[in-house]
Amino acid sequence: MNKYVKLTSLFLLIALTFIGFSIYKAQASSPYSQMKVVTTEGKPEYIEPVDFFGYVSHSQNFSNSSTIEFDEGSFTYLQEKPFLKRMDHSFDPKLNNLVDNYRTFMRGKSRRPEQYTETDQHLIYAGSKTDVDWNSPFNNQMTISVLDKASDEEEAYSVTIGSDNAYNDIYATYIDYPTLTIFVNRSGVSDTSRNLVYTFDIENPTEALTEVVDLSGYLDKNETLSVSQLSDKTERYIPLKTVRQTVVSDYDFRTETSGYFAYDMQAQEVIEIPPFEEETLLFSDNDTIYVGKPLNESIELYEMNPDDKEMTLLGTLEMATPIMGQEDSSFYSDRFNQSVTILDGKLYTYGQEYVDEVSRPIFQITDVHTQETLFKGTVMPKDMTEAGYTTIEVMEYRLDPSRN
């Protein structure tokens, strides 16, 4: 046996060290701060429609940063998810839900949430050839796929968009079943760019999309179109705004909103919205257009009649901090209303609160008709000793209308 002493010793060294390490690791506390929702006003169940991806970092040690997901009222760190699940992960909560629930349908389709819209019965995708085939930037081919959620049957339509080849950026899709409305920015080879609204009748499919409105006429030179981030893409009115870019220096430019509009999906027309002098908030919910006037720590909310553009004051909604409802933290220049939106009569807002070295998100949900605060709260580490150095930043935020 003595002749195997080195082999046996090394084998024992490996086995004991690995076992010891595994036991030590299992007993050590997780390096990730456990999080909780802290309700300061209202009821915690109102935050259930909120899904977000956040970034957790420690001011004492910035290298210990991690991505956290808040979904259906509970927190999960990305690093703690199963290996294969992590591989299919997307930073958009809506896309993750779609891949989880409709994996077969999602195969071969682009991973841009704005190209998906759904009703209780259907999930609809509209994507250009370029979205999936990156080697084909200029074409006029599009695919529209409709999934019947009950039967799990998919119907796919190959359609053309316009008569000439162009780079088609589909930046918003909405459904008033069976009419699908698609917002497209078409950039030609000669650098010309047009913002167009197309429709497609799912029940009576045609070989080409129908162009209904050319939004380019509403845009001046140096202006771009921004479309509201809607949680429920079945709303009748789609809020739009035009954004003017002014070059400040070689490395910087300033943006300011130059006009507010709402696109009526039923009448297929653009309604101009008269803005307030200072700042204007524009929302839509079901068949209603809401216009907000942000004050210091509140929002004066009006309901606008689209026919005569008359505004009716609904009331003043008190906000948790001055920044709530006024800050648009969207990372995307072609979208707005990411941090403030109205869904089924409730105003959802979030903002970042800065305390000493750290910051954390504040969420507020207010009933637009009674102005009652249904929920106000934040996210903090369960271990309060970590609160002083733990920053939580919201990266991607979505509302799930099905949980509202």
Binding site: Y4, F83, M87, D88, R111
Partner: protein, 282 residues
Amino acid sequence: MKKSLHTLLKLTNFEMERLSKFLFTLMGLTLLLNLVGYIYTPMQHMGKINEYITQNSATTQQALDAFGRFSFYDVTQTLWIAGPIAIGVSGLLLYSIFIWYREWFGKNTFAYRLLMLPVSRMSLFFSKFITIFIGIFTLIATQMLSLFIGHPIVSAIIESAYFNDIGLIASIQMNPLFLYLFPLDFSYFLMVNGVGIVVLLVLFTVILMERSYSFKGIAMGILYGIAALSLVLFPFFIPNLLNNQYILYDSELMIIEIVLIVAVGVLSIFTSHHLINKKITV
């Protein structure tokens, strides 16, 4: 079966004896360089703080604002830790080639005696393979033990006011190098070791091709290596071939990769079996 296992054990032990001096040197080097890092890095940090306080008549808080808190993670990021790992990996990679060629080179062609042994020649193949992996795991275990020794040393050198005790496991988990070496995430650990096993099998096959066919074998070996690599990388080109970047989920791509890597491993074992039994010349 029992006899062949016994043969394998004897051959592995024989190979381990031959590797032991080199392995113990690597283990010693790892421990020594790590130890220097555990002492020198925090002392250097404390030296900077003390110098700053003396020169600027600064308070502890001002020193903290200037230098921040020091943690064990800061030590694990230094070359004193990464260096020995790099030396160990490259040393064992070179030994993987040497473990075969040493039989042919030297005063006597020891390969002749080995291949004439009345045992399965694949036992010889597997004994060399197992020896390399014992070497790899021994170095990983040494690094693990070293970190357990280093953590209290570092926390003893750094004054508590300047020390950020984030814990040993947290320090290890934050370093991407250890994510691949240690079983922190079992899936990653399996994946890295799986790839390592197949790379070693392919390397052994290439060496056996060269030993079997000489110059022609070099070309065959290079072609075999390229073919194995192409096969493993092929799935990444499927989306381009099908003109759809989303035709496969990343998890599916990973599963296809695992199947192909296993296939390359099995193919290498069968090829090596054929070469070592039928083609190899002394």
